[in-house]
Amino acid sequence: MRGAGAEQISILVRTIVESKASSNVLRYFYGIGYKLDHEILKVGFAFRFQRGAQFTVTVTSANKMPKLHATDEAVQVTPGIQLVEITAPAAANNYNDVVSAVTSFCEYLAPLLHLSKPGNSTGIVPTAGAAAASLM
C-alpha cells in the first residue's frame, strides 16, 4: 500500500486480473515464449457471499510436487497449517466501503484463527469451537 492513509489500512490491496481459460493454456504461454518457473497445488475450500462487499474466503494448503503435474504425489509445504485468505473486489467508487467491510469481517473471524509460523504450528485455537458456536 502506498499513499496517504496507507498505515491506517491493515489490509493488502492488489490489482488482480483473472480470466478463465481452456485446458491448453499452458501450451499457449509456452508458445508465446514463457517458461515454467514453478508450480504449486492449492487444495482447500472457497466460500463466496455478500456482506457489504462480494467476499471470497479460501482456506487452502499449498503443496509441492516432486515431478511436473504429479498431483497424486503432492506434499504439503506447511503441514498442519493452512492459509486463510479473505478477498473482495473494489473499484475507485466503492473502495472505502469495501475496505471497511473486509476489515470488519476479519475482526469477526479473528477469534477463530491462530497465526502460526511455518514449521511451528500453534494448533487450533482452544476457544475455536465456542467462538464458532457464538457466531452462528
Binding site: T15, V17, E18, S19, K20, A21, S22, N24, V25, R27, Y28, G31, I32, G33, Y34
Partner: protein, 220 residues
C-alpha cells in the same frame, strides 16, 4: 452447437470491392426467401509482440516468439474471447478479461482491429450472415464475407453434403447478377488445431483466422 461455414468474396483479377456487391448478396438472400432478423458482428484483433530495449541490438525478439497473436471476439457471446497462435496451431478459449491479462503482461499489444459485420437472414434450417470486413472506426472495405449456419447438425462431416448443396444453389442465384467475382470457402485444418468433428466456438474462431489470411492475401 450448429455447424457454420465461412466464405469470403474473391474478386476477379483487376476488380475491386464495393458496397454494391454486398447489397446484391443481401438481396440474393432475400430472393431465396430469407427474412432479415438483425445484425451480427465479429471482431479480430491482431496483437504484436512488444519489443524491449533489453532484448539486445535493435530490440529484436528471441527467434521462437510468434510475431502475431489473433484475438477473436464473437459479439453474440460477449463473455468469450479466443486467442489464436497460428504458428503453434493453438486456439485458446478464455473470457473477456483475457485481453486485460495480456495487457498487464506487456508481452503483446493490440495493433489492428478489424470488424466483420452486417445483416443476418433466417432461411429455413439455415442462418445466413452477410457483411463486410473493415478496420475498426473506418469505412474502408477490406472484404465481404458470408457465414452459413445449419441448425440441425453439429457434425462437420455429416453436414458437408448439405452445405455444398446450399452453396451450389447460392452460387447459381448470385451468378445471375453477373458480379465481378465469387464467394469461395477455404477449408480450415481443424484437426491441426486439435479440434474434433463436433462443431464449437473454437472452430468459428479458427475459420475467421483462415478467412483473414485469405483477405490479406487477396489485397497483397
Amino acid at each position: 452447437m450448429p455447424r457454420r461455414r465461412l466464405m469470403h468474396w474473391h474478386p476477379n483479377p483487376g476488380a475491386t470491392l464495393n458496397s454494391q456487391i454486398l447489397a446484391e448478396a443481401c438481396s440474393c438472400a432475400e430472393s431465396l426467401g430469407g427474412t432479415k432478423d438483425g445484425r451480427w458482428k465479429t471482431s479480430i484483433i491482431s496483437c504484436r509482440p512488444i519489443t524491449r530495449d533489453s532484448m539486445g541490438a535493435g530490440g529484436r525478439l528471441p527467434p521462437d516468439v510468434p510475431g502475431e497473436l489473433l484475438g477473436v471476439a464473437l459479439h453474440e457471446h460477449p463473455g468469450l474471447y479466443f486467442s489464436i497462435l497460428r504458428t503453434h496451431r493453438l486456439v485458446l478459449q478464455a473470457d473477456a478479461a483475457f485481453p486485460h491479462v495480456m495487457e498487464k503482461l506487456q508481452s503483446y499489444k493490440a495493433r489492428v482491429s478489424l470488424d466483420f459485420e452486417g445483416f443476418q437472414y433466417q432461411l429455413g434450417d439455415f442462418c445466413l450472415r452477410i457483411g463486410k470486413c473493415a478496420p475498426n472506426n473506418s469505412e474502408t472495405m477490406r472484404g465481404i464475407i458470408m457465414e452459413v449456419e445449419y441448425y440441425p447438425l453439429s457434425s462437420i462431416e455429416k453436414s458437408r453434403a448439405i452445405m455444398v448443396d446450399f452453396f451450389d444453389i447460392w452460387q447459381e442465384t448470385l451468378a445471375k447478377k453477373s458480379l465481378p467475382g465469387r464467394f469461395i470457402h477455404v477449408e480450415s485444418n481443424f484437426s491441426e488445431y486439435g479440434l474434433s468433428d463436433h462443431y464449437s466456438f473454437q472452430h468459428t474462431a479458427v475459420q475467421y483466422a483462415t478467412c483473414l489470411q485469405q483477405l490479406m492475401a487477396v489485397r497483397a
